[in-house]
């Protein structure tokens, strides 16, 4: 505000300036818009315009052929998705994905970060460089090697399991409906765990060590310190990673599902976003895809709202 006032003042007070600078003043007015325009126009055109169109498409029937006019069908698409089991299955699977992902994105990383906190050695940097590596690996390359590791006959996992006598026949990790969801979680979790550990470590380094010193002087035990100092001060990181896991797990697992299982067998590994993809680009039913997109957009939006509310109440910031 103050800069705008400052920059506007000389123009208004100087009478001689006023003549020459009508165009200059206009230019000054629109300068901010010129700078923000490229990003704003692109975001409006590629995010908000299609979002509005998706709302429109959700009440229509259309096979995405540009030569065919969409037909308005009212709320039929919504009726369809709410009464067909594949929608419920995708929602249920997503819930399972989120719950099973939490050990990799929140629980284990937090435990590891707390347990190894203040390990003041150069080794720590080497550990970090190594356990962070999965995060930057291309997802299709990861899918390839995990499929090889999990191969039912020749894969290393089954080789080890059978030679140890745990199983007699190789587990079909990616094609057995009891295993497939767990296998996808393992792959996505493998990608996340190192990164999450780093996030929690970063959260821990922000904690003032004098708190612990004071607690030690008061004779408090280590576990009590963890409970009363570490966890409250770590709560912003915990909330962030929890929110990311809930909102993004369906996104993190998407590429592995598409490359390794296509949601199968019999929908056992599909999730909400993969369902949208299946409706849209496998069945070419843009109405169903859009109706489901509207439902999930609103659902996740409400979840995000709840999270930010809780965050404001619960997360403890050390000022």
């Amino acid at each position: 505000m103050s800069e705008l006032a400052l920059s506007a003042l000389p123009d208004l007070s100087g009478v001689s300036v006023r003549q020459q600078s009508a165009t200059k003043r206009i230019l000054k007015r629109i300068t901010p818009f010129l700078f923000v325009a490229p990003a704003l126009i692109l975001v409006l055109f590629w995010v908000y315009r299609p979002l509005v169109q998706t709302f429109g498409l959700s009440t229509q029937m259309w096979n995405m052929n540009p030569n065919v006019e969409p037909v308005s069908v009212g709320l039929q698409n919504f009726q369809y998705i709410f009464t067909h089991p594949d929608f419920a299955q995708a929602v249920w699977n997503t819930l399972l994905y989120i719950l099973l992902m939490l050990p990799f994105s929140v629980i284990l990383p937090m435990a590891i970060a707390i347990a190894t906190n203040r390990l003041g050695s150069r080794a720590k940097n080497i550990y970090r460089a190594i356990f962070f590596l999965p995060m930057i690996m291309p997802p299709v390359a990861c899918s390839a090697v995990w499929r090889w590791l999990m191969h039912p006959i020749n894969g290393l996992f089954n080789h080890v399991l059978t030679s140890m006598g745990v199983v007699t026949e190789g587990i079909r990790f990616l094609s057995d409906e009891n295993w497939v969801l767990l296998s996808i979680v393992l792959i996505a979790g493998w990608k996340m765990i190192g990164f999450s550990t780093l996030m929690f470590s970063a959260g821990l380094t922000g904690i003032d060590p004098s708190y612990y010193e004071a607690a030690s002087v008061d004779g408090h035990k280590k576990w009590y310190q963890t409970l009363t100092i570490t966890l409250p001060l770590l709560s912003p990181t915990i909330m962030l990673m929890l929110m990311m896991s809930v909102l993004m797990t369906a996104q993190w697992t998407f590429a592995y599902i598409d490359v390794l299982t296509q949601g199968g067998p019999a929908g056992a590994s599909t999730n909400v976003y993969y369902l949208l993809w299946t409706y849209g680009f496998k069945n070419f039913n843009s109405g169903l895809s859009s109706a489901a997109a509207v439902v999930f957009f609103i659902g996740f939006g409400i979840l995000a709202l709840i999270f930010t509310r809780i965050n404001r109440k619960v997360a403890f910031y050390d000022n």
Binding site: P38, A39, Y48, I112, T116, R128, V140, A141
Partner: protein, 279 residues
């Protein structure tokens, strides 16, 4: 007294040992699949199925096979083109927007900020059908350009740069204005040189994200000549279901540029991910 000291010292040693063990376990879990990918890629045809932890000899056969059967070099070029254009365009649009939003308060500036901030709630699958039909209508099916165009601006990049711009001292900007610096002048001569490291590390992050991008390329490019590494690798995977050796070799080649980048700039890469999180 002495005894107590050695006991506590021993306890610290023991505890440190446990910490190292925990981190080593995490490292083994993280690195093993990548290690397996690399060594499998060097194993000969008979050896690949015996699951040894080291190949008896390093054979380049899988690499020659993969290079002969898929146009890995062409796909690498495509992917470089896509990743660099996206990272640069996203940086440019983000720098301009973050500059405008932090330097001036203008009508609608709050609304514009909010519009950027809320995009992360819009999943890509909720916009894919309209965007797909738009791109096809523009004639960008099967073209790398069609992948880049919807990704020229990144709200994530704008929001990441926003704090860096905001913390730039206002007094310096005012001093620049006294010297009759223009708006772009202030940006290029004053601000950018001072926040160079933020920009570079965000650029690395955007490059890696774009390199690994799967969703848009999978939707837009299917043609081999325009395929990115991710897409080419996927079709190689479904075409050669059991040629594990060549598949691992192709996977190594698809990851190689990222691995080299990581080897060189490992600290910055980690920092930029921790600082800005995941998209």
């Amino acid at each position: 007294m002495m005894e107590e000291l050695t006991i506590s010292k021993r306890r610290i040693h023991w505890q440190n040992g446990l910490k190292h063990l925990l981190l080593i376990l995490l490292c083994v879990f993280a690195i093993f699949p990548i290690y397996w990918m690399v060594i499998s890629s060097f194993k000969g045809q008979t050896e690949i199925f015996n699951n040894s932890l080291l190949p008896s000899s390093f054979s380049p056969d899988n690499y020659t096979y993969a290079l002969e059967h898929v146009d890995i070099l062409g796909m690498t070029a495509n992917t470089f083109f896509m990743a660099i254009s996206q990272a640069v365009l996203q940086l440019v649009t983000a720098i301009m927007a973050a500059y405008a939003l932090t330097r001036w308060k203008f009508p609608g500036s709050r609304l514009i900020y909010t519009l950027f901030a809320l995009t992360w709630l819009v999943p890509i699958q909720a916009t894919m059908i309209p965007n797909y039909t738009t791109l096809v209508g523009m004639g960008f099916r099967d073209s790398i350009v069609g992948v880049i165009i919807p990704n020229m601006a990144s709200a994530f990049a704008i929001l990441s740069l926003y704090p860096a711009f905001q913390s730039f001292p206002k007094a310096l900007i005012e001093a620049g204005m006294m010297d009759k610096m223009s708006a772009p002048g202030v940006l290029f001569k004053l601000i950018l040189p001072n926040i160079k490291s933020s920009i570079v590390s965000l650029g690395i992050l955007l490059f890696i994200n774009s390199w690994n991008e799967y969703f848009w390329p999978a939707m837009i490019v299917s043609d081999q000549g325009q395929a990115t590494l991710q897409i080419g690798l996927r079709s190689f995977m479904s075409a050669e279901l059991t040629s594990w050796g060549p598949l691992m070799a192709a996977s190594v080649l698809a990851s190689l540029p990222i691995l080299v980048l990581y080897l060189l700039l490992q600290k910055q890469v980690i920092q930029s991910f921790v600082k800005w999180g995941i998209k």
